[in-house]
Symmetry: C2
Subunit: 194 residues, 2 copies
């Protein structure tokens, strides 16, 4: 019994020295993961804000019109695309705000707190980013191919530029989703191995 009580005390005493001595030896790969985390976050910011900007500026008016139809397509036409612009802007904002915590993880690679905070928030925003990306992808697919059974016609024949721009935005958001998955896996590895 006495040994089990002694051990946490002695490890606490050593922890004061560990900060000074150990990082150069054992904390190297954790610091590497923290630096990679920071770089990947920068990439995800570019992907998320690029997706939001690309989708938000998608607007095409055809050079002819009739009395009844205006022949204009913009992201406003589809609620999934509006959702996409809003969520991608939110995700980009979160990623910018998460950079300071990522820096803290670089400076103190052994602290579990910042990583824990990041992994939980990353999971929430991964879900948000994936949902908006997938719903926009479903609409882009319909715009390209239409649907025979419901007589929903493909609009990409007429609105080629609009479709190209929204498809690019969806691809960019998928890049952000992949980076989020990498971030969570890396944080989990850094938390689990010690």
């Amino acid at each position: 019994m006495s040994t089990t009580i002694d051990v946490p005390e002695s490890s606490n005493v050593v922890k004061g020295k560990e900060v000074l001595v150990v990082p150069a030896r054992a904390g190297g790969w954790k610091k590497g993961i923290a630096i990679m985390d920071f770089i990947l976050r920068l990439g995800a910011i570019a992907a998320a804000l690029g997706a939001a900007a690309s989708m938000g500026t998608s607007d095409q008016t055809l050079p002819f019109f009739t009395q009844f139809f205006q022949f204009e397509a913009s992201y406003d036409s589809f609620s999934a695309f509006q959702f996409f612009v809003i969520t991608m802007a939110i995700v980009g904002g979160y990623l910018v705000l998460s950079l300071p915590l990522s820096v803290v993880a670089i400076i103190r690679p052994h602290a579990a707190g910042p990583r824990l905070f990041l992994i939980i928030l990353d999971t929430v925003f991964l879900t948000l980013a994936t949902a908006s990306s997938a719903s926009a992808a479903a609409i882009v697919y319909l715009a390209h191919n239409g649907n025979q059974d419901t007589n929903w016609i493909a609009i990409c024949n007429q609105f080629g530029d609009f479709c190209a721009q929204t498809s690019g935005a969806v691809v960019s958001s998928l890049v952000a989703v992949v980076i989020f998955v990498l971030l969570i896996v890396m944080s989990a590895l850094a938390l689990g191995r010690h």
Copy 2:
């Protein structure tokens, strides 16, 4: 220097006893989290397989037909719904296979390995479940409301049962997504605090 080498050795010696002595004192909440993890997984299995079955059996033929149209709606009509059935079945299968690992985490609440494995796979399958759920939700929304700008008509006036069944499947899949987020947050907390 000699103390830093001694500490991992002494903690290894104690670890053999720790399994017998410590869990009752400090490992209680970790065991609780592991048991909650197991129960939530059972709920997620029901939600995912229920969603797949509900979507997979959605099929409605209207009681009248013309020479040109058959007026039948099934999940085959939409590629997003086919994707939904396949991915929800895969997610349900993964969750069943993950139950033994969850049991291992209950038996050995201090082992990081099973939790690490689960959190990484959970993240991947969370992404898969969210993507299929969101893309199906986008199509269900279109089926309910249609889209004025592209002349995509709402089909739920005609295919009421079909729409109700697919909407139910989407709601069920969203339950699975929420449970996945909870599972990852709980695993991260159990990994990070020690």
